[in-house]
């Protein structure tokens, strides 16, 4: 016994040399991570702020000025801010009600088709916003399918709708963001210890009063947090207000910024100031959300497996069916059907019996060099970009949560900063920055990757970090005590243990990059167009058939990839 102990300590004594080289390596990695993250985040933001004080477009001779900020107070911009807030608050409120109702129905009642609904909502979550918006334009535009059916065929002209309105934007926003609310509320609802509700039942409360007096109050912090997050993603949403709002002249801040940069008379300075204002709004909202969620830690959600008796729906069953399947129909099945229908039509018509059918749109996708190139670009950006993002996210999580070397708080701050910067604002910031930087990045896929990684880095860090904090530090320390260097501790203990979240983060980023449009819309050139941009361009050229065909293909790729990966990596679902 004693012999062995001496032997072991010999081994440990023999190690310092390699431990030192391991430390040097880690130090270099920390330095590199720090510099890359800080540069990636500060350059576009600094450039944006710089631009907001300049009189001319990036790269042009200009002077310092405050007139861009004065422009924020102009009646036009004030009205836009009002519209943005109104759409943001209304959509978020509706999303919270619908998303929470679906989550409660699926996880707390005897609703029979919970699995089907969960799947529908999951698919809807990954259904790209610009494709959803396009489908709803085909349905709800003045010359769209709905009006053709109710007015031209049935003669019910009072039922006519116009999607190009504020309410049209709200409708599509809600359909797009209910899955987000469902996914953020599902955890707290399932993790809530059922004993609180049981205690209320035995204390004499009816099932519906348990919901209002116990369940919802206990969920209040999660509800407020989810509401704020939904508000943030609503006001920074670009594709939906751009596709629906621009034709209807309903402007949100994100679309006004886009119009100022893309269409003459351009005003890059005012656009930058709007970008700063929008970021300030999202930043403030994030600050509020953090406050709420840290205050909410007090409530004891034990996560203990509870075997709650499902609440019987009784005569409310039909309402539950209408809500859940109605949502699935409007958010996924109807738009998908319309897109497939539009994609096989020679000329658009609302009456399927009048249609001349063709597969030329799909043939064009394969024949056209430009669409094929956009597919390759997308795969490259998503595949390589997600790998880069996950690697960076893993480093950040390790340094800020584990090693915590000097300055790790600064790193932590910069990593979370992109949460507050809407995609289109980031794109504008990069546009400003790379007009001045002596780097040949403008018009390359690399710039696209940088934009996407910057925007979604917090997702990777949060996903991986979430699992890393749950792994006790003593597991690594035990490895050190037994003779492993810090680097070996990471590679042999920590990495294998966080592998599920790393895979989940890769999946999350891949999907996000595949669908991303808001930060790419100001950065693409003909040779760097990605699929989302190609679809967008075809739709802008009023080529509904081709845009639909490409959307169908892209959506199928997303759904197939999602199915494959969630089967291969069960943990990815949590991402």
């Amino acid at each position: 016994m004693s012999d062995q102990t001496i032997g072991l300590s010999d081994v440990v004594i023999g190690k310092p040399a390699s431990r030192r080289t391991g430390n040097t390596l880690l130090k270099c990695a920390y330095g590199a991570t720090f510099i890359i993250v800080v540069a990636m985040v500060t350059i576009p933001i600094a450039a944006l702020i710089y631009g907001s004080f300049r009189t001319a477009a990036p790269g042009m001779p200009a002077e310092w000025t405050l007139r861009n900020y004065e422009g924020l107070a102009s009646p036009g911009v004030i009205a836009t801010i009002g519209t943005t807030l109104w759409i943001g608050l209304l959509s978020s409120a509706l999303c919270i009600v619908i998303g929470t109702a679906i989550a409660l129905l699926v996880h707390r009642t005897d609703f029979k088709y919970g699995k089907v609904v969960t799947m529908l909502v999951g698919l809807a979550f990954y259904f790209p916003s610009f494709i959803l918006a396009m489908a709803w334009i085909i349905i709800g535009a003045p010359g769209g399918i709905f009006n053709a059916v109710v007015d031209d065929m049935l003669g019910l002209s009072w039922l006519r709708i116009d999607i190009y309105t504020t309410m049209g934007i709200v409708l599509v926003m809600v359909l797009h963001q209910v899955p987000f609310v469902y996914l953020t509320m599902r955890g707290p609802i399932m993790g809530m210890d059922g004993i609180y509700e049981e205690a209320a039942r035995t204390a004499g409360a009816t099932p519906s009063r348990v919901i209002t007096r116990i369940t919802l109050p206990l969920l209040s912090y999660s509800l407020i947090s989810s509401f704020i997050l939904t508000f943030i993603i609503t006001i920074e949403q670009f594709a939906i207000p751009a596709l629906i709002g621009i034709p209807g002249q309903v402007n949100m801040l994100a679309t006004q910024l886009y119009l100022l940069v893309r269409f003459s008379p351009t005003d890059y300075g005012l656009a930058a100031a709007i970008g700063v204002a929008l970021s300030a709004m999202t930043g403030a909202a994030i600050w509020a959300q953090r406050r709420v969620s840290s205050a909410g830690r007090l409530t004891t959600v034990t996560g203990k497996a509870s075997r709650l008796k499902p609440i019987p729906l009784g005569r409310w069953k039909w309402l539950a069916y209408i809500l859940c399947f109605g949502f699935g129909f409007l958010a996924l099945i109807l738009p998908m059907t319309i897109l497939i229908y539009t994609s096989v039509l020679k000329w658009f018509t609302a009456n399927p019996f009048d249609g001349l059918y063709t597969i030329r749109n799909y043939a064009y996708i394969i024949e056209s060099a430009s669409t094929i190139r956009s597919f390759w670009n997308t795969l490259l950006v998503s595949g390589v970009g997600a790998a880069a993002g996950v690697l960076l996210g893993l480093m950040c999580a390790y340094f800020t949560l584990r090693l915590q070397p000097r300055g790790y708080r600064i790193l932590d701050f910069f990593v979370s900063l992109p949460f507050g910067v809407p995609g289109i604002v980031l794109g504008l910031g990069l546009l400003w920055a790379y007009a001045y930087l002596p780097l040949p990045l403008y018009g390359t896929l690399a710039l696209m990757i940088i934009a996407f990684v910057t925007r979604f880095l917090p997702y990777a860090t949060e996903t991986i970090g979430g699992q890393m904090v749950q792994i006790d530090k003593s597991l690594e320390e035990a490895a050190w005590v037994n003779g492993a260097t810090p680097l070996e501790g990471v590679s042999k203990i920590l990495l294998p243990l966080v592998r599920p979240s790393v895979q989940g983060a890769y999946f999350l980023l891949f999907m996000a990059f595949f669908r991303e449009i808001s930060s790419a819309i100001l950065l693409y050139t003909a040779s760097t167009a990605v699929v989302s941009i190609s679809i967008w361009s075809f739709f802008e050229q009023a080529n509904w058939g081709l845009a639909s065909a490409l959307s169908v293909v892209a959506t199928l790729i997303i759904f197939v990839a999602m199915g494959l990966i969630s089967r291969l990596v069960p943990a990815a679902r949590q991402g």
Partner: protein, 360 residues
């Protein structure tokens, strides 16, 4: 009010977890359901509370049928007027102590003044009067426990149900709270069902104890009956400490002998013919004699001390005797390995039925 359970059956999917059990709890009576985890005791309690739907049988609270699935009667929990204390207390974190305790009243539309009065009274009974406006997070485990108690009694429930309420408390607090619970139940004079896996708790608090295993009742009786006259090896083993020696009946029924052939005097009043049996010895009912020849025939077994655990008040010795490991409590000191003689009287050596094939 009394509780009557008749042929209660509970299934989860294809798995039956309670196999048609029946028992009664009279008004003012305190009955424990005792058994290992997974024996169906908590499920039974939850069926009484209405938190689980029974699959068969009838449950009555007082004269009212609250569960009879065959007649399509399943009264929801909020109409059963029970008071229940949960294992993890279930104090609602978003309400103050006063709001927690007042909930059963306010949910039944009692006027605010009456709620305040009764809450003060209930908190006074459990000694938490000054804590009315505190939040649960500011309370210790023992205090939360007492809030749960106050909440269970405030609505003047017809019956009290306890689901392992003391298992999260430390040993000292547990003893005090036992007395407290017993006192409250006496005062309210209601039927109480108490679920526990702690035999000491069950023996010390209950008027009657029901020992369960595998969804069936093994034995029901007063604490003394269970300890002194267990009907089978499971009950003997679960209630108190015990050792078991294999015995077979001598041809002609003239006594019992161990596998090694030694005759022993056994209290075989529980013998009913069929099955295999063992002799049960309680560790405090055996004397250890240093002199290996000091035994009386039939009332002693020779053995060797194989292990000892010093426990302060006494030492528990494990003695190899009669082909079994026999546990003996003694205040005297012996060395491991020394030969001894175990002495016992027939009333401390009881025949229990034992499922075939169970070991020593």
């Amino acid at each position: 009010m009394s509780i009557t359970v008749e042929n209660l059956v509970k299934r989860y999917g294809a798995m039956t977890v309670v196999h048609g059990i029946s028992f009664e709890v009279g008004r003012g009576e305190f009955v424990s359901l005792l058994g290992p985890s997974g024996c169906g005791k908590t499920t039974t309690l939850r069926c009484i509370a209405g938190l689980e739907d029974a699959a068969g049988g009838i449950i009555r609270i007082g004269d009212r049928i609250v569960s009879a699935p065959d007649q399509d009667i399943l009264i929801p929990p909020h109409e059963r007027q029970v008071g229940m204390v949960f294992q993890s207390y279930a104090i609602w974190p978003h309400m103050t102590v006063g709001e927690n305790v007042g909930f059963p009243l306010s949910i039944r539309k009692v006027s605010a003044a009456d709620v305040a009065k009764q809450v003060d009274e209930a908190l006074g009974i459990v000694g938490l009067g000054p804590f009315k406006d505190r939040h649960p997070s500011q309370l210790s485990g023992g205090q939360q426990q007492r809030v749960a108690l106050a909440r269970a009694i405030v609505g003047r429930p017809k019956v009290l149900l306890f689901d392992e309420p003391l298992s999260n408390l430390d040993a000292k607090l547990r003893e005090g709270t036992r007395v407290e619970i017993k006192r409250l139940q006496r005062k309210l004079d209601v039927a109480a069902v108490y679920v526990t896996h702690d035999q000491e708790e069950a023996l010390s608090m209950s008027d009657r104890v029901i020992v369960m295993d595998g969804g069936r009742i093994e034995q029901a009786g007063t604490p003394k009956e269970l300890y002194r006259s267990p009907v089978n090896r499971f009950v003997a083993d679960f209630v108190g400490r015990a050792s078991f020696i294999d015995v077979v009946r001598v041809e002609g029924g003239a006594g019992w002998r161990t596998p090694s052939g030694a005759l022993i005097d056994v209290d075989d009043s529980s013998f009913n013919g069929a099955g295999t049996y063992q002799a049960m010895l309680r560790p405090e009912g055996i004397d250890i004699m240093e002199d290996a020849n000091a035994g009386k025939p039939g009332r002693s077994l020779p053995g060797t001390i194989s292990d000892s655990h010093y426990l302060g008040a006494y030492t528990e010795y494990v003695v190899d005797a009669g082909g079994a490991k026999v546990k003996v409590h003694s205040k005297r000191d012996f060395d491991v390995g020394s030969p001894v003689m175990l002495r016992f009287s027939p009333e401390n050596c009881r025949l229990v039925s034992s499922p075939a094939g169970t070991g020593k």
